[in-house]
Every structure is written in C-alpha cells, then in structure tokens.
C-alpha cells in the first residue's frame, strides 16, 4: 500500500538542459492558426527570388534557418501596390532531407513567409524543392539484378541529387486577402 501511495512523494527529475540553456531567456509563445475561414478563393501570386543560394550540399541548411527573398515584381491588389519589386520577404527552413541511397533525392521545405504589411495567416507559402530523383532508374535496375546474389544491393550506392534553391528559381507563394474574414467581417485573431 505504501508503495502504491509513494508515487506522488518522489521528487521529479528536473530538465537540467532546459533549466540551464533557457534560464535567461523568455521565449515567446508560438503563434497558432485556429480562427481560420477558407471561404474565399481569391488569391494573388507573389513571385520571389532568393537573396542567397541555399543547398543541402555539405550541411548547407539547418532547421529553423532564416532565408531572405526579394519580390520579383510589383504585387497589386484592388489596383494598389501592396508589395514593391525588391521588397524583402523572410522565410524559414521548416525541414530538409539529405539525399539518400537508391536515388532518393534531397529536399528543402520553406514556410512561415513574413512580409511587411501582410498578415502571414493569409499567406499560403509552403514551398518545397527536391533534388534529382534517380529512384525511377535505380529501382528497376535493382529489381532486375536481385536474382544474382548480392548484385542488387550495389544500387544502394547510387545517391539522389542535392536540393538547391538559387536566385534563378522563382518561388511563388499566394496571398489570400479574404482569408479569415467571417460573414460579419470580424478580423482574425
């Protein structure tokens, strides 16, 4: 009985890592997106180009890395310019995958696009870039060679391509000006 009851009496282990590393900081609560309203279909494309090339080659990207873009051409809504050519747009690397065996390509995911004057909740900005996918070539060869013992596995050494986002790429994200407006036109939180 005492064993059963003693559970709550134990002092719990502190998270020393969090205690030490975060002791002098007060991180902000991340923004959620819960008051959505996707009724409107009206969307405006925003064309961007990256300021500094990024690549999965040689640990070139990491999670949470900030990436800067500039607007390729003026963006208009209701005959008003809402973004000028050359305006800066910030995004973050939301995930990346290094290239793998059997021709699996690397990929980079960018999200959380932020720009002045536009509510980021009205942006649909998920962007993904992959490297060269060699799986289509590798898998048939692998399966054809599998009857010969040990030979099919040799294709494991064929790696897919790295993913690069360069200034030649046009990254297109969309601005939905009426997202979040309910019928009573109450603003999104």
């Amino acid at each position: 009985m005492s064993l059963l009851m003693s559970g709550s009496c134990f002092a719990f282990v502190r998270d020393e890592f969090a205690d030490e590393i975060l002791k002098d900081t007060e991180p902000v609560k991340p923004v959620t997106n819960l008051n959505y309203n996707y009724e409107s279909c009206e969307k405006i494309p925003i064309k961007l180009k990256i300021k500094q090339n990024i690549s999965t080659k040689k640990d070139g990207v990491y999670d949470g890395q900030e990436v800067l873009f500039e607007v390729r051409q003026n963006v208009k809504y209701n005959n008003k310019i809402i973004l000028k050519q050359g305006d800066l747009v910030k995004a973050t690397v939301d995930g990346y995958l290094s290239r793998g065996m059997n021709g699996i390509p690397a990929s980079i995911i960018l999200d959380n696009f932020e720009m002045s004057g536009i509510d980021s909740k009205k942006i649909k900005g998920f962007y993904k870039k992959r490297g060269l996918n060699l799986s289509l070539m590798v898998y048939p060869i692998k399966w054809a060679l599998t009857p010969i013992p040990g030979v099919g596995s040799l294709t494991n050494f064929i790696l897919g391509g790295n993913a690069h986002i360069t200034s030649r790429d046009t990254v297109v994200i969309y601005y939905y000006p009426n997202w979040g407006k309910t019928k009573e036109s109450s603003p999104i939180d």
């Binding site: 719990f12 282990v13 890592f17 991180p27 609560k29 939301d94 995958l97 995911i109």
Partner: protein, 236 residues
C-alpha cells in the same frame, strides 16, 4: 395434463431467457457502437483541426479501427486514410497525444501527394526506405501540432510510451526510438523553446522517464549549443 403444463412453463422460461440475452447483447452492441462513434468523432475533429490550422489542402481522412491489420498497415500512403488502431490509442492520455500520432501520419500522407506520378514514387520511397524519412516526419509533426495549438512535448511522451527500443539501427529499416526522441527534443528546443521553458509535461511519468533515459543525448545537445555548432548530432 401436469406434464403438458410443465413443458409449457419450461418453454416460456426458455423464451424469456433468450429474449433477455438478446436484449443484453444488443445493449452491449449499441454501447460499443456509441463508444466507437465517440472516439471516431474525437479523432476526426483533431485530425481536421490539424489540417485546417496548417493550411494543408490535400484530402485525407481519419479512421478509428479497433482491429489492427498487418495486411494494410500503411493506408495513409495508398488511400490517404489515416487509421488509428486501438493498440495505438490506448497509449494516448490526452488530446495532445492523439494529435501527436495524427500529426506524424499527416506529414507522411502529405508527402505521398508530392512528386512524380501524383506522389506514387514518393510513396514507394517512403515504404522502401522508412528510416530516411522517420525523423523528417517527426519534425514536421511538431510544426503541425504547434500551429494547431497542441503541445509538441506530447509527441515525446506518446512515443516514449508506445515505441519500443531496438538494439541496433545500423542495418535496420528504422531508427532507434531514443535517437528519434532526441531529434524531436532538439527540434522543439530550436524552434519552440517556449514549450520547454513552460513544460506542462514535466511532472508526467512518461516525460520523466524520457529525461532519465536521454541524459547522454541531452548532454550532447548542450555541448553542441555551447560550441555554437550547426552540425547534426549523432544521437544514440
């Protein structure tokens, strides 16, 4: 005459008993159905909230199934149907932990929409090399949970309770669970330190057990941060 009366009485008793058994069985059946409907609604609500909050415009459905079937273990990749079996849901102690499971499956299913032949090649790649994608999906799940207002630490507590630990992962198709947990912890620290600073799961037994079993990995992370390195840590 007496014998006939006795037979009639026995007959009536048997009929009454059968009726009672049937009523009891149908009561049990309907309560099972009501319970299944309740769990199904809860899963659909959480799943759809995750999709909407993250602006995921790919169709997928969420299904509660009490019986696990190995034959169709990955319906997320083929039919875009995310199935939550009894053997998984029994580990979840709150909505955040259910969201953790669903968010992970959503990130996998979303990947099956992208790439050549409407995502067929991606699905084959995920199926053939799941180890490569596991940590990637775990991290995406953290992002999805945060956007939808769920606590990402629940992914750690849920996985710590429900995923077994293998001996090696060098020649395995999957990563060691301890490695995955350490990567999730690092990702939460990097992008959402708020949840570590205000940790609602700190006193939960599952999280305490994670702290106990991950001390070496957390030490590695601390060294990386102090050194200001951006290199990936080789967690164990």
């Amino acid at each position: 005459m007496k014998k006939e009366l006795r037979n009639i009485l026995i007959g009536i008793i048997i009929i009454l008993n059968l009726a009672a058994v049937r009523a009891f069985a149908s009561d049990n059946l309907s309560s099972e159905i009501i319970n299944d409907m309740y769990i199904q609604k809860r899963i659909s609500d959480i799943g759809l909230k995750l999709l909407n909050a993250n602006k995921i415009d790919k169709r997928m459905i969420f299904v509660y199934n009490s019986k696990y079937s190995k034959i169709n273990a990955e319906p997320g990749l083929t039919r875009r149907e995310i199935v939550l079996y009894d053997k998984s849901i029994q580990f979840a102690s709150d909505d955040d932990e259910i969201a953790a499971f669903l968010a992970r499956e959503i990130s996998k299913t979303e990947e099956s929409y992208t790439g050549i032949w409407r995502g067929l090649v991606s699905s084959v790649q995920i199926k053939c090399a799941p180890k490569k994608y596991q940590i990637f999906f775990d991290k995406r799940a953290v992002d999805y949970m945060v956007k939808a207002g769920y606590n990402p630490i629940a992914l750690i507590t849920f996985m710590n309770k429900s995923y077994p630990q293998k001996r090696f992962d060098k020649f395995s198709r999957t990563n060691l669970t301890s490695k995955r947990l350490a990567n999730i912890y690092e990702y939460i620290y990097t992008k959402y330190p708020y949840f570590l600073k205000h940790n609602e799961y700190l006193e939960s037994d599952s999280y305490q057990n994670f702290l106990l079993t991950s001390s070496e990995n957390r030490k590695k992370l601390m060294e990386k941060i102090k050194a200001g390195s951006k290199k990936e840590i080789n967690y164990e």
